[in-house]
Symmetry: C2
């Protein structure tokens, strides 16, 4: 673990720390790497965990399936993002199931001994928690919009980097529908209506607001 800190120094968790500090902290944090195949489940809904992780490579998805089998996608994680870091300090079970959407490389951390942890790292950790908290609020924002059209538009606007330019969303139709709590066919229908009215243009997961 004390090797390969080069890959770690660009991670938000280690921001502002020297390689030496990182190596020492990663040691104290009991870090180790693993590979996960597409489809693997990293954390199951309802389970507790004492480890959190950083996604070094690949894509993860946090989701939940209700009694009727309806899939609800809560989050999508891309490289550099962290997961489980909120769980390990409370004894709450995981609210979602975390699955590898592609082959992944993970850096696992924990259990974390706060006494031995750098204040700088704790600050970074808290900032990361803030981001995740924010993402969750976004999801709630979408959920609480009644009209599907407005829900879609809000979602798209939030993903638009610069006005009028095309952009990608990190979902296929199914995923997008599950994230927006909508029926896939209803989503398709509404999207093509919106294209018909000249509001948007799109192809696959690339969109453009007009």
């Amino acid at each position: 673990m004390r090797t390969l800190t080069a890959e770690l120094k660009h991670l938000p968790l280690f921001a502002g720390m020297t390689e030496e500090e990182i190596a020492r902290q990663a040691d104290a944090l009991r870090g180790f790497r693993s590979r996960e195949e597409k489809g693997n489940i990293l954390i199951r809904e309802g389970e507790k965990t004492e480890r959190c992780g950083i996604l070094l490579e690949g894509t993860l998805q946090g989701h939940r399936v209700d009694e009727d089998g309806v899939l609800s996608v809560v989050s999508t994680l891309s490289a550099g993002m962290m997961f489980g870091e909120i769980l390990i300090f409370s004894d709450q079970p995981s609210p979602v199931t975390l699955t590898a959407l592609t082959d992944c490389r993970i850096l696992w951390l924990g259990p974390i001994d706060l006494q031995r942890t750098d204040a700088r790292l704790i600050r970074n950790l808290l900032a990361l928690i803030g981001s995740e908290y924010w993402a969750l609020h976004q999801k709630i924002r979408y959920c609480s919009i009644v009209s599907l059209r407005k829900r879609i538009l809000t979602f798209l606007k939030d993903h638009e980097a610069t006005p009028k330019d095309p952009f990608s969303v990190p979902f296929d139709r199914n995923g997008m529908a599950a994230y927006l709590n909508a029926d896939r066919s209803a989503l398709s229908r509404e999207l093509s209506r919106m294209r018909g009215e000249g509001l948007i243009d799109y192809h696959k997961n690339r969109f453009r607001l007009l």
Copy 2:
């Protein structure tokens, strides 16, 4: 501030700490008390803050109003709960507006210097963040249930302390509707249907599952 630690030692944030430690930490945390009248806004959506707080007495509500004036209630806080503790370590703006639903007493804390903060207190803080995170996931769980009836039932089950016993929910009809993302009249209609079918019984904000 170094007085009146008696009231603080039962707060989750100070769990497991001696009065002496609490007094020292509360000092380091720049704590001070304030009173807020019913209707006061403590934090406004979109604003950043470097202070967080603990609700010593009263009730707070976190909510958001969309462009069309639709109210969405995100959380309700009762005495002992904390707010804003996630915000102060990230530079995210507040995702909700926090309003006093009744007259309140608040203990304000921050800005927090992590270097000078007890590890025990940080652990407590992280545990509290975990609870809030969990509550947010609950809200998402409700949101993502399509059928209003199931949404109501899930919500009620989560508030039922012991099976078959009556229990209160911390909302009036309007609040409950806003929290469940439903129309108030639709909620009333569904509730009386459910009563008609012998599923539940209720009066005002007291319910019973049958």
